[in-house]
Symmetry: C2
Subunit: 590 residues, 2 copies
């Protein structure tokens, strides 16, 4: 085995006229009788190799004749400039070709199950089953390397500022609060289970109690939730915690770090501070707690007007405590027929909206199924409120407040994407702050923590919290990027009295709190400093930086949408012996 001189994709003038050795995968082979051309690929790119009978021994030329796509070979030869008319300006090394003097074939290859090309029109399941081949595609290689660049930038940023990388346990305690745990049965303690961590939350708080002062970890977390497009059973979190810093200081570090990541990976220097919006404003104007601010089209509240409207549906909804809100799709009325506009109701239905109303704005008034309900004054008012003019189309939802928000928020995102109202390369960060401390859980009819039960309230007047839990605000902050939540953080409760009262407000008995969080409470008894932090979703962040549509594109070996690993076929059946050792049996297996 000769040492590689340089990667295929990095050959340059310094090697011209020299004998060099390349190693890589055969992308393509063209056969011209006594001449064989091969595009040789490695992780850095391509180099054209020429095999001819003049330079090669008879044996080696015969070998060259055997080469097929995806064979892995080593070639030693002389690097030359291509003739002017042979230059390929599309690729970095398009000015060179290597005249082979000798050849080694390391591995032959079956005809690949998928083409090793960026533009691949094949079902994702086929890609996942053939992930090794899929990862050979330059685009996937770029995604994997981008991911590494992101983590490296984050690590460098935090290392330089005194953050200490501390590993927390993967085999830990099951805590029923939050999402469902993945459990790990044990052999030594029959009937006892570890849980895989949903996040290192409690451990990082203990590390603050231990005086680590600044902690971080890039760490796998696990939630046995029902899966959605951008969820995986295991995901990676950039977990950060600090002591003695204010919310402003913590946000400052995270913002600076994210700017550094954007600069290193996308070459963009973001100069301005990330905008900030309260949770209330986000819900009011965007119908979501993670607004995509790359485009406008804000939700406008028409409830005041609707009270006096002639349109019974609007009027009644407001009288019954609901809302009427609308958005304005500017200048695109002509894109819609009555049929296609009506069809948009399918976008809002999953959010339980009972209907979607719309009008087009013409030169001389509104047009559409419900236009007749708007008198002249209505039209003036609404045009003013929605900054509407000829050529716009307005969409209305009348419903309960949360339904209006989620359905119009979803429609807003749908329309913006459909009509390309934003630059897909843009990166629009946004802080969302002043979150409610609690949310009401209809199922259990009680208040639950909106983030987690360790989030500090903005007002530590416990009586006030008790009286008005719905109005209580948390010292919590989310970082949103292009409409995705990429991170959430808060200042934490650091005093035992407050934590006890929080558990009480959340309906925990002392017994329950002690059983689940005893070690945290005991830690607090020995003193916690004021502390707070954040957890960023690495998969999602990289997905957005890579401009990919889902996180599976930035994970080397992901599960599919049903949580199954198609490459290794996991999860899978294990032997009865294995189960017996764990003191378990399957239900219905007697």
């Amino acid at each position: 085995m000769t040492e590689r001189t340089v990667y295929c994709g990095l050959v340059n003038d310094q090697y011209l006229g020299k004998e060099i050795t390349l190693k890589g995968w055969v992308q393509k082979r063209r056969d011209l009788g006594s001449l064989i051309f091969v595009d040789l690929r490695d992780r850095e790119g391509f180099c054209q190799v020429v095999f001819n009978t003049e330079r090669l021994s008879k044996e080696d030329f015969e070998l060259a004749n055997l080469i097929r796509s995806e064979y892995i070979i080593e070639v030693t030869g002389e690097l030359a400039k291509r003739a002017d008319d042979q230059i390929n300006p599309q690729i970095k090394t398009g000015r060179y070709e290597l005249y082979a003097n000798s050849l080694t074939i390391y591995s032959r290859a079956k005809t690949p199950a998928i083409y090793i090309e960026n533009d691949l029109d094949v079902d994702e399941e086929v890609r996942l089953r053939n992930r090794m081949l899929d990862l050979r595609r330059p685009k996937m290689q770029a995604n994997i390397r981008l991911r590494h660049k992101v983590t490296r930038t984050i690590r460098n940023y935090l290392d330089e500022r005194g953050f200490i990388d501390v590993e927390t346990p993967m085999l830990t305690k099951s805590t029923p609060e939050g999402a469902r745990d993945y459990l790990v049965p044990t052999r030594r303690e029959g009937g006892a289970f570890f849980a895989l961590p949903q996040s290192p939350q409690l451990f990082k708080q203990l590390l603050m109690g231990a005086g680590i002062d600044r902690y971080y970890q890039i760490v796998k977390c696990f939630r046995d939730e029902d899966l959605r497009g951008d969820r995986q059973p295991e995901f990676t979190q950039v977990d950060i915690e600090t002591s003695f810093l204010s919310q402003r200081e913590i946000q400052g570090y995270i913002e600076e770090m994210l700017k550094e990541v954007v600069k290193e990976t996308r070459g963009i220097s973001i100069q301005e501070a990330f905008p900030t919006m309260t949770y209330a404003q986000a819900m009011e104007e965007y119908g979501t707690d993670k607004p995509d601010i790359r485009f406008d089209m804000k939700l406008k509240d028409l409830s005041q007007w609707a009270k006096t409207s002639e349109f019974g549906v609007f009027k009644n909804t407001v009288s019954n405590g609901g809302q009427v809100k609308a958005i304005n799709l500017k200048g695109l009325a002509d894109e819609y027929t009555r049929k296609t506009a009506d069809a948009l109701v399918d976008i809002v239905k999953p959010y339980k909206a009972k209907g979607l109303a719309w009008v087009k704005v013409l030169e001389d008034g509104f047009n559409g199924p419900i236009a007749k309900f708007f008198n002249g004054e209505d039209q003036v008012l609404i045009k003013k409120r929605l900054e509407a003019e000829k050529g716009d189309i307005l969409f209305f939802v009348a419903d309960q407040k949360d339904v209006v928000a989620s359905s119009l928020g979803a429609l807003r995102n749908h329309l913006a994407k459909k009509h390309a109202l934003y630059d897909t390369a843009e990166l629009a960060f946004l802080w969302v702050t002043d979150w409610p401390l609690f949310e009401y859980d209809d199922e259990t009819q009680r208040y639950v923590a909106m983030h987690h039960p360790f989030t500090a309230p903005q007002n530590d007047d416990v009586e006030a919290l008790k009286e008005n839990p719905a109005d209580a605000k948390a010292k919590a902050y989310d970082i949103v990027l292009n409409g995705y939540e990429v991170g959430g953080g808060s200042l934490r409760i650091y005093q035992r009295e407050m934590q006890d009262q929080m558990f009480e407000l959340l309906g925990f008995t002392d017994e329950e709190a002690r059983k689940q969080f005893g070690f945290l409470l005991e830690g607090m008894d020995y003193g916690f400093p004021p502390h707070g932090g954040i957890a960023l979703g690495l998969d999602r962040l990289v997905m957005i930086l890579a401009q990919e549509p889902n996180i599976r594109e930035v994970i080397a070996f992901p599960k599919n949408g049903r949580g199954h690993d198609l490459l290794t076929d996991a999860p899978s059946i294990v032997s009865m012996d294995q189960l017996a050792e764990l003191h378990l049996k399957l239900k219905g297996s007697d």
Copy 2:
């Protein structure tokens, strides 16, 4: 909350005469009536704070009176030089004291369950139960930070050389080969289980097949083995794999990286190449595959001589295919009475040695229970062979080869430690190479892979492998430090034909091989480059660098020796509902 000016442990001349703010934990408080002295601690060290009634408001002085050990406080005041006779040269900041102008108490604290001091005489279980307090001890903080420094150095080294950090799955497929898996039951696929990875071995090989070329990951791995002092159910591996490199090149990178780690963490520049020893030599001269070469005391083979010895036990052992070997504890004969020398048999008993014989070397001959069996010629021969002289004491074991090796190897380590024959601060790296490819498993009466079934043989003549499996050598290399295996690596099989034959030699049916490793075999069909790598045990490496006796000292939240987390009390019982969702029930729970 005022911003911290500087860490307590980092105050220096530049702050003299200035008003600064410190935050930290109260180490100690001394009360002199109108003067209160406090040693304030943070992660960087200590600073003395003086509270007096001149500077402080009455309220703040009263507050200062409330302070107890481990309270967390913020102090703003003026930094001054101590009077010459007050300087404490033991600590970095011993020349300074801070005259407090104001005081905030963030957290009170119960009397700590353990002292926050380096020298702590308390049961380890108490420390583990109170791990947050334990981690406040400067020594533990230093260990945790050393660990981070090691990973940072490794990452920087590998990043600079084009290694790509790729995350592999934590929820993966159970493969019965190797140690016992930790299983993770699934809710969505009843009766199916994920397994936690024992190592990312197969995935990193696929990454080589995908053309990643250079991969690394610092990653948690899991083995459900019976625990020993330096084992944990979860442990951290520095996992590395490369394509197209020779064994020499791979070892070169690892060696350079480890030298960098030693330099960064211990300030030692190792100039010489790490010594190399074959497996056969290690077993022959040290009785172990991980020799501690900080001291000599090699095992000497006396079997040739024993054949003709008058000592029946020795003679018969050799006639029955066994060995007689001895070590020489130089100059320490006087340390042993007959009783204490005889008692050393307890050291070799766990290794199944039937006995331990010894003689002291006197001016005029051997002395001891078996001295009479050595005639004059014997004594000359043995003194020559063991380089023995007056004052030495020689220990003999006569037994089967493997018993001799393990028992004398263990005795050698025991004696060296007991008599401090090495400098505990020394770092003695050693490569052990030319490993057997197979080892014979008495239980199943077949050959099994000594490393794993993907290790490349040195001789790829399959017929030869079949005929003499016991003699087959692997392209495998271990890195040993101070008698601990800190890493093991190999070149891998990269061609399907060889891998098939290897599985056949190991007694796998085609069906079994396909079921367990099908995705690897299929990958090979699409072509693997020549590749190889290594896995380093991070916990053990850091333990040795920190000069700690066990890996729990360098893990923030370890399990105890029985695999239980005393801090959180995990594993623990989970609810029947949780089990039911996983389609499981406990055995005997009907």
